[in-house]
């Protein structure tokens, strides 16, 4: 039994040596009370989860704890007296003399990662710490190794490396995709507009040069051709803007949303001076985000509100912070045409519209743009509305949001 052998060694040495020849007590053990103290120490060693093995300098196993039994599968009687080489797989056999040599010199081998072999022939990965064992005179008489099974840890490390490599590759692929998207957007911006200009320009030329030979209906048809071409140009621009939003690098910093809203609403008011809109802005609404993108979102939200209050007798738009479900959210509220909540799912889709072109003009990208900006900031946007009773657009921007 492991505990017996340790105890017997300690006990024999305590009897053999006269007290005056000893250097220091070992492991704080009061050797006058040696048997009980050693018994305690031995129990501690035995109970350890790590494999603790003591060897003579020639490699013979002299002590074997419970942890070692669990790790290697051998019981103490099966291994005590055997050479430690029974635990070494063929490829690693040279380690034993090397380690023992260092031990002989009084050196410690620390956290040495290697492979050992169990009773049933399995190979396990372990981390070994081997220390010299000295007698009471300081002479190295053997080695004590503490081994920890790191097979699981090694497996986890390998998996982590694989995942990291996969991640690295995915990032590289994304970078390529982004560059391709950039090039594509550029091509679209340039090449699609050119035929549009031809369609528009030559339709106009027809009217200018042959107008007298064309009847009113013909001229109207040409007008519709031209309008179609111009509108397509606008659609292309919007698609490009949306795509740019997805690609642009975020440069977040504290942003005063109230100030931003003030400028945007003042510009909007200047564009339609004969239709005053009552604008209420809560003061000091700050957020943390990319100022350019947030400006685009704020502009779109207020343009939307402006547009849908166009037929209101007393249009009113508010910008506040409110608590929704326990969290803080910004809201742009108007008392305009509103919308049917049944279609709220389409509200933020690009090019989806909830009103006819002749009711309210627009391409249907404004809210998709807002959503994209908010999503880039890892926030959320949603809306509530009622036909004829206005709409409220809420958005949250996490990340250093002053609550």
């Amino acid at each position: 039994m492991a505990t017996d052998s340790l105890r017997s060694r300690g006990g024999r040495e305590a009897e053999d040596r006269p007290p005056t020849d000893r250097d220091e007590s070992v492991a704080g053990v009061d050797e006058s009370r040696a048997p009980e103290e050693v018994h305690t120490l031995a129990a501690i060693v035995d109970a350890s989860d790590d494999a603790i093995i003591a060897k003579k300098l020639d490699g013979t196993i002299v002590a074997w704890n419970h942890g070692a039994s669990r790790l290697y599968g051998y019981t103490a009687p099966e291994v005590i007296g055997q050479p430690v080489s029974i635990l070494i797989p063929p490829g690693k056999i040279n380690e034993v003399p090397a380690i023992l040599e260092r031990i002989r010199r009084g050196e410690r081998v620390d956290s040495y990662e290697t492979i050992r072999r169990t009773k049933d022939g399995r190979q396990i990965e372990i981390s070994l710490t081997v220390s010299p064992v000295r007698n009471a005179y300081g002479e190295v008489t053997g080695a004590s190794s503490i081994g920890r099974d790191i097979t699981e840890k090694k497996k986890a490390d390998r998996e982590l490396r694989e995942l990291t490599e996969e991640l690295r590759q995915t990032v590289a692929e994304l970078a390529v995709a982004n560059r391709e998207l950039e090039a594509f957007s550029y091509a679209v911006s340039h090449d699609l507009r050119s035929p549009l200009r031809a369609i528009e320009g030559f339709s106009q030329a027809l009217v200018d040069d042959y107008g007298e030979q064309l009847d009113k209906e013909a001229r109207q048809m040409l007008t519709r051709v031209r309008v179609g071409a111009v509108r397509m140009g606008e659609l292309i621009d919007e698609i490009l803007s949306l795509s740019l939003l997805a690609r642009k690098e975020l440069k977040p910093r504290p942003v005063d949303l109230t100030e931003m809203a003030r400028k945007v609403t003042s510009d909007l008011q200047a564009q339609v001076p004969d239709r005053p809109v009552d604008v209420v802005l809560e003061e000091d609404l700050t957020a943390y985000g990319d100022p350019e993108l947030l400006r685009i979102a704020i502009t779109n939200l207020f343009e939307n509100a402006w547009k849908f209050t166009a037929e209101c007798a007393e249009p009113r738009i508010e910008f506040r912070r409110e608590r929704v479900d326990g969290r803080s959210a910004y809201v742009v509220r108007d008392n305009g045409a509103g919308f049917d909540m049944r279609y709220s799912g389409k509200l933020f889709q690009p090019f989806e519209r909830l009103h006819r072109e002749d009711e309210f003009p627009g391409l249907g990208v404004g809210l998709a743009t807002v959503q994209r900006v908010v999503q880039r900031h890892e926030g959320a946007v949603w809306a509530e509305g009622s036909p004829g009773e206005g709409a409220a657009f809420y958005f949250q921007l996490p990340g250093r949001n002053p609550e």
């Binding site: 550029y186 911006s189 340039h190 507009r193 050119s194 035929p195 549009l196 200009r197 031809a198 528009e200 320009g201 030559f202 106009q204 030329a205 031209r226 071409a229 111009v230 397509m232 140009g233």
Partner: protein
């Protein structure tokens, strides 16, 4: 002898026709020469010393053979043409083109609108500014 020509550098036939049409409205249609790629443009400007230089270059960016920015660079690199007014007239609104255009010495950058009336108005203003109001550099 001072010329009053414009050199239009434009590869697409439709765009050429529309630009000329817009210029004709301003009665400067007769004084326009057209180069249909970068190489031709450089040949016209730097090739023959006996040919007078135009007063203004309207330069598209996407050109075959030698592209617009390279043409611009070579114009600025040659002491005969370093002061020549160059207006970039292009479909692109990409910031990178804008920056590159100005960085390489363009005097102005105009984006071609789809709407022809708007385009014609832009051309009218360009003609008025560059050929009438602006003092051209001495040749």
């Amino acid at each position: 002898m001072k010329s009053h020509t414009i050199l239009l550098v434009e590869d697409k036939a439709d765009d050429e026709a529309l630009t000329l049409r817009a210029l004709e409205r301003q009665r400067i249609g007769n004084d326009v020469r057209v180069a249909r790629d970068g190489e031709e443009a450089l040949e016209m400007l730097l090739g023959d010393d006996s040919e007078p230089l135009p007063e203004l270059v309207l330069l598209d960016l996407k050109l075959p053979k030698v592209d617009g920015l390279e043409v611009l660079r070579r114009i600025r690199a040659d002491k005969r043409t370093v002061l020549l007014p160059v207006v970039i007239l292009t479909a692109s609104r990409e910031e990178s083109d804008l920056v590159a255009g100005y960085a390489n010495g363009a005097n102005s950058y105009v984006r071609k609108p789809v709407d022809f009336d708007q385009f014609a108005e832009a051309v009218r203003q360009l003609g008025l500014y560059w050929l009438v109001i602006n003092e051209a550099p001495p040749t």
